[in-house]
């Protein structure tokens, strides 16, 4: 039977993690994500899991990578300042193809800026924060229900593609309370562990796919490294082909599965003159504004900022003359939208300061642009 709760977004995230099979959390609590850690500190031991409060964020990222190779589904939760500190190990997780989930409840930034206020300033850090070429997956929830659902989805995608997955929430969604419905038949992707065989390769070059991942202690003699490695995991740092093959595969396993990973929702886009594009909490204001205006305005809600849903954005804006990107920063996903719909007038409604853009601000922007 489905259960109903009236809880905070951060509590829903923790609940989702446990439902997805997360049994290890390491983190350094930070506003506005603290309730994720707080809830998991209380709930993980009840299901046989472990909670570790670490000395800092880079160590937290290291601990969950280790836990993942120990066979556990593992997660951390932080905010902008913590995401900055984790980047080195996040890169290591991409290179070593370690499934982990990183929750970022975004607050005013840069630096420590506004701990209790909302922002979406870390979107490019999720994309490019660590050095080098890699393709992240990121999900942005717009409701407490979605924070629960997307945390589960993040674990499933992490396991399926052996990648770090970001849940890019914001202070509004993290702190507000709403009803969530928890079904008892939640789809969970279990980790595929390899069969014992002499020719098992932990980093096998499978086209668009991933290799089963053993845990330390399963008896496989494997090497996990951030150095460029061959299919066995052994460092091979000077052969251009080895690096090219490895990194191409790490990118392609996400990029070539975009049709399965990318998710958007839209309304009224077919005959809209203006299409609003948003993700996370601002979607709430956008929907309200679209419902209020009598102009031909539609909207696209991006569930998965990364990989960027290029095809969907192109298709859904095909008949529009103008596109407005609404986000709580001075332009991050705006440049992605602008990149893929070059023939449209792409406008930015970037709101910083910590408050959710209001429906009136959006309606004003629509009026400013015109449309019918």
């Amino acid at each position: 039977m489905a259960e109903e709760f009236f809880i905070q977004g951060n509590e829903a995230c923790a609940k989702g993690a446990i439902a997805a099979g997360c049994r290890f959390f390491a983190g350094y609590p930070i506003t506005p994500s603290t309730e994720v850690a707080e809830t998991l500190a209380r709930e993980l031991p009840k299901v046989g899991g472990s909670f570790v409060q670490m000395e800092d964020e880079i160590a937290s990222a290291g601990a969950i990578i280790g836990a993942s190779w120990g066979g556990a589904k593992a997660m951390t939760a932080t905010s902008g300042p913590g995401i900055s500190l984790m980047q080195e190990n996040i890169g290591y997780a991409f290179m070593s193809e370690t499934p982990i989930v990183i929750v970022d409840v975004q607050r005013g930034s840069p630096s420590t800026a506004q701990p209790t206020m909302a922002a979406q300033g870390d979107m490019m850090q999720a994309r490019w924060g660590s050095h080098g070429d890699y393709e992240p997956i990121a999900l942005s929830p717009s409701s407490v229900q979605e924070f629960f659902d997307f945390t589960i989805k993040a674990f499933n995608l992490a396991e399926q593609y052996r990648v770090p997955v970001f849940v890019m929430a914001d202070e509004v969604i993290g702190h507000m309370r709403e009803k969530i419905i928890v079904d008892d038949d939640i789809e969970i992707v279990a980790r595929v562990r390899p069969e014992k065989s002499d020719d098992y390769l932990p980093f096998e070059n499978i086209e668009n796919g991933t290799t089963p991942m053993p845990a330390f202690g399963d008896g496989f003699n494997i090497h996990v490294t951030g150095l460029t490695h061959d299919e066995r995991g052994y460092p091979d740092t000077n052969t251009p082909e080895t690096h090219d093959k490895l990194i191409q595969r790490i990118c392609d396993k996400v990029l070539n599965n975009r049709d399965k990973i990318c998710s958007v929702r839209s309304e009224n886009c077919d005959d809209a003159d203006i299409v609003l594009v948003s993700y996370g909490a601002p979607v709430r204001s956008v929907v309200e504004a679209v419902n209020k205006t009598d102009k031909k305005v539609g909207y696209i809600k991006i569930d998965t900022p990364w990989p960027f849903p290029e095809e969907q954005i192109k298709e859904l804006t095909a008949n529009a003359s103008d596109v407005i990107v609404v986000e709580m920063n001075l332009g991050q996903m705006y440049y992605e939208v602008d990149r893929v719909v070059k023939d449209k007038n792409v406008h930015l409604l970037g709101v910083i300061g910590g408050l959710l853009p209001t429906p009136d601000e959006i309606l004003e922007k629509i009026d400013e642009i015109g449309g019918n």
Partner: protein, 182 residues
């Protein structure tokens, strides 16, 4: 219909819990939609604390309160600070033991505000013997005065929201607040 409610007072009065109970009542037990938000920051530690709830028959998109239909004030500082957002013809509920509506009488007259006095703190102290249940007394008064949630839903929400073992005291507090407005 969308109803915006703001409850404000001192940090420590249980303002946030009062709002959570309203939201929980509406969304889990009255079959409506509700979103609760609150301000975080230094004001949570002794200054003005506020909690906001949007209750609607349909999905709540924009989750924040912009101009409340109902303002509940449990401290004078909060009353003066937040009265200016209250809608014309809106409802103001105050605890006369901790506020003075004389301080905002111009706004009340100019905007045709309906004013209700619910002595929540005094009732909590005198009738329940526990000052800390003033917030639940206030939930009772809000329920009766505004009808924004049902009495049955409120009681169920209180039962699942207060610490185990304190349910009876809190239900009594609710009933006392409900009776204040009768």
């Amino acid at each position: 219909m969308r109803t915006e409610i703001r409850i404000c007072g001192f940090g420590g009065q249980g303002i946030i819990l009062a709002g959570i109970i309203l939201g929980k009542s509406a969304s889990l037990f009255d079959g409506k939609e509700a979103v609760q938000t609150q301000s975080y920051g230094p004001e949570a530690r002794g200054g003005a604390s506020k909690c906001e709830v949007v209750i609607s028959d349909t999905k709540v998109d924009y989750p924040k309160v912009q101009s409340p239909d109902i303002l509940v004030a449990m401290s004078n500082e909060a009353l003066i600070k937040y009265i200016v957002d209250l809608k014309d013809n809106g409802t103001l509920i105050v605890d006369p033991g901790t506020t003075d509506v004389e301080d905002v009488k111009d706004y009340i007259e100019e905007h045709n505000i309906k004013v209700y006095e619910a002595p929540a703190t005094k009732t909590a102290t005198d009738e329940i013997g526990l000052k800390i249940v003033a917030n639940i007394v206030m939930v009772g008064a809000i329920t009766k005065i505004t009808g924004v949630i049902s009495k049955e839903a409120a009681i169920k929400a209180i039962e699942v929201s207060v610490p185990a073992g304190t349910e009876e005291k809190n239900i009594s507090a609710f009933e006392a607040g409900y009776a204040l407005a009768e």
